[in-house]
Symmetry: C2
Subunit: 198 residues, 2 copies
Amino acid sequence: MTDRAPEDLVRQLAFLNEADRLKSVERATTLNDGSRQENSGEHSWHVALYAMVLDGQAEPDVRLDRVIKMLLLHDLVEIDAGDNPIHAPTSDPAQQALAEKTAADRIFGLLPEAQAIEFRALWNEFEAAESPDARFAKAMDRVQPLQTNLALDGKLWEMHGVTEEQIRRRVGNPISKGARTLWDHLSAKLATHFAVKS
Amino acid sequence: MTDRAPEDLVRQLAFLNEADRLKSVERATTLNDGSRQENSGEHSWHVALYAMVLDGQAEPDVRLDRVIKMLLLHDLVEIDAGDNPIHAPTSDPAQQALAEKTAADRIFGLLPEAQAIEFRALWNEFEAAESPDARFAKAMDRVQPLQTNLALDGKLWEMHGVTEEQIRRRVGNPISKGARTLWDHLSAKLATHFAVKS
């Protein structure tokens, strides 16, 4: 539990104002109707809803409340470090990782100390993608844009010259690690999509 | 837990695709920098983050996981019924309430039955604003646009001709019912804002 002391509250409200800027970070993915780029704020809502709806696809030891917290926080570093698209990643991963760590220091550092430590630990866990909770959260973060691509009949994949093999490696692997039965279903849809296209 | 049966999964993914449309519902509020209208998808993310950060302001019996679920779902009916701005509400509240109920029937009805019932119950509880969880969730839903208005030095209030008394009634009441200490803090900020303006 956080403190009710006014000084802590001032810091919390400043953090929440800063978080507003995530709504201005554009992703490579569009909305499902292709009308505009998606931003990282609305994406964060959608993946949290994915976790809530697809909870039954998680391993039995996964704690949904922790998964949702990770997903609400997972992209905040992009306020400083920008989005790093999965199909057009930065040419300098070490530089990107450093930028994200620096961003995490600054942004979570706006919070009262105990909460900054708690939120940073959740973000670190998500990034490491090793715990059952983080693996399910990562799977949700990959399923949502896959669904958008399928809704758009692969238009974004075509635009970026992405192959089925690349999707299976970059998107399929993290999904199957966190939600195997879900991936079996999506893998079949993907195969059908590319069979029709080829 | 939801079922892993493929038919249920197909319904869940259809629901999640439909939810994407919430990103195209515009609210009366803008981003904190005033650059554009906020949409109800990114708003839903932001208020869930508000609950996570301000959890310590809730009454001791409030369950944060249920509050966050309510906030992730609370605006989905707007896909069909549109946003109903607090400072420029519809002239026909009964018609709006009916439109929202019809929307809830259709949208939650996309889900497998057990999950449809669960989500609808959470939405009903939020709308009733009587349980401690729902009162805290409602408070978060009101605090976030209040913060935006303060960040914009009251520009949106001026545009819509909103008085301090109206803000205290429409926004202050629900906040104080769910998070009294938080409201004491914001009430003082509001008084200062209008003292300077007058």
